[in-house]
Symmetry: none
Subunit: 219 residues, 4 copies
DNA sequence: GATGAATGAGAATTCATTCAT
DNA sequence: TATGAATGAATTCTCATTCAT
């Protein structure tokens, strides 16, 4: 194994041993992260392969060794970003503790904020790009709808619990409730990026105000 | 009618500017509509000027006589799409009748559906593109934030009415409530386009189920 | 004079009288002057017909009513500029007074300076453009070579007089002398525009120093 | 400099830039030469990038890999042409032998002729284009004025020598003399290309006739 | 003649991708 | 495998010129 310094990068060139699947996966991830950084800065379309290649520190050929096309990289970035919301979420809603709808939304928003503060760049920016892209890119559409469907199902579980608790009308359709709870999230992300004045706390406060039981004043 | 002397010629200029300006405005609109159709089909970036030119039925030079650049057309489309939501909305919330939050959301969603069924193409698709575009395009960001801020202010008025009615906690921050009410809309639009299974009625039903006062069952 | 309304514009059209040749010539000149101004500022190729049209205050159609093409305007500008040097010159060298070579050069340079200070713009800038253009434009080449040949012939006359005077070797070829005298002019124009530090006086002083008889110092 | 064997290939990692830089420089020169050929034939503005690309035998992308824009190529051609006059000149005037003004002009003209006969195409045609271009192109103006100033300074040295020799009035301003000597060159180039009837020999003969000391005939 | 909107061929430039080394 | 120079189709935009009114 020889260290080679070239163009300011240092490579360990192995004597062609097992270039394992793991190695490939790591390289792919490096490329996706480099590309993601570009996408967060410039968007999917204004990010050129030259940008990705420069940012990744690899050569054009190398990048194309890991991904067949720019589209494949774009899909990987979108996958990654859409999954991140989902993954982080998994833990929360899996708790056995009773979770009110407001608490579920709050927990999710807190995770959104974490995702947004990631040192690799704000993933919510990628998510918005992915929404737009999904409209004209079948692969991303498939990923997005599948991920979001799963996420929404978690909210459906929350709704059912609330109905079981009696805090929500048991005759209501839990799926419709899930649509609303899930539906609050894109609006949060969007307001955060376009208007810049929302916080999870404020949003949840507003939601709680709306949800808290209150009799209309008697006439 | 004004006499104008120009290059030694004397003209009686009648309403010329009027006619011409109107003509120009119409042509611009034609071009925007043609371009919008392309954008709905292919997205902002995959829509080429050649597409727009073909679709508009004009020549390249003619199109560029009305818009300095593709960017200007893109901005016009985004403006148009973002304004449409706003405009249609104006009427609804301006009614003097007391408007509950759920009713306000319902009315807005019904308008969203109208916009989506426009024969010129589904404007909500353009809106999603505009969200993504706003992140890297200052002009669109400016339009989007201004339009959405105005829209959200309407919801703030609704929140205040509800607080006055006593149907919402008067101590809550109406702006936070507005964030939530406004925040429901992107989620509806997105679920409609990505998951395809939401309707204004269902969404409002879910929302009403959440909002309807209900005591937790006594232990 | 009759009022005519056409395309929503109302014109006072003079009874369509003799749009004389003189009128045409004046209009052509106006256009050439407008175009010349553009050319002085931007060069032949970066001057667009739109520039010329704007500067002339006429319409596209009108300009094309007087000139068949941009090339024709370019040729007219070049003609005009190349002739100006010639015309102004005519007077000087036509004097009967004996004119030494240095005096002839001086007189010419003074005219060059006048041409350069013309309020319509520095014609020497046009001349340089015309030199370059002549290399690829037969019409301009023809004009330039004819004008310059005539101008050089004037210098040949000067040379002959000097030979007759005995101030120049009578065995020399007067045409070669004319080449040199004429040849001093482009160098003046060029240094003036590129280096900006020549004056007719200085140039003539340098020339006189070279021409003044002087014995090499005896060994 | 370290030899590295990697995957059966052997790299000299340090000196790499050297090789590459040289290659780059050669390619740039190839492109400039190809472009120059086009420019000599059609002029700067009528030479299209398509022409340059075809003539260079490279692809569009390759050419743009070496030059950022057409302007950069144009500047390189102008640089090259303006420098060539200068460079060739360097040798001549650097000789220690006493050089009379006429001899200096002669030597220069002979070099001009060499430049004009270059198999790559007549560089004097490029020079004339560059004069015109300099008027509206700052980069070329900068190159032209710097190169020509240096060239003229060589003539100033010649003038000083002549003054020291006593063949030229020692009270004259050597810079003015240099203006005249330098100023003879553009006129030669121009007459050669526009009138086609000058030769270095004839031109120098004319000059010598003017310079040769001769008493006006006594009255 | 006059107008100026419209034309459309053509220009410069970019960028995803390939392939010889 | 890795490299990065090379490819060339595609894209945006310009501008001389025309022609219906």
């Amino acid at each position: 194994m020889v260290e080679v310094v070239k163009n300011g990068h240092s490579f360990y060139v192995r004597g062609m041993p097992k270039v394992t699947e793991e190695h490939r996966a790591n390289r792919r991830l490096e490329i996706v992260h480099a590309a993601r950084k570009c996408v967060i800065e410039h968007g999917f379309h204004k990010t050129t392969m030259a940008d990705v290649i420069r940012e990744s520190g690899l050569s054009a050929g190398a990048v194309y060794g890991y991904f067949k096309s720019k589209d494949e990289i774009v899909a990987a970035i979108a996958d990654d970003a859409l999954s991140s919301i989902d993954e982080l979420f998994e833990g929360i809603l899996a708790t056995e503790a009773p979770l009110t709808p407001a608490a579920a939304v709050q927990a999710t928003l807190e995770h959104v904020i974490q995702i947004a503060d990631l040192k690799g760049g704000d993933l919510t920016r990628v998510a918005i790009q992915a929404w737009a892209e999904a409209l004209h890119n079948d692969a991303i559409m498939a990923t997005a709808s599948s991920k979001y469907r799963i996420l929404r199902e978690h909210f459906e579980a929350v709704a059912r619990r609330a109905q079981a608790d009696g805090t929500v009308d048991p005759d209501a359709d839990p799926q419709q409730i899930a649509q609303v709870l899930f539906g609050l999230l894109p609006g949060f992300v969007l307001q955060r990026l376009l208007l810049g004045d929302v916080t999870p706390e404020g949003y949840v406060a507003g939601l709680s105000a709306l949800l808290s039981p209150r009799q209309p004043k008697p006439v």
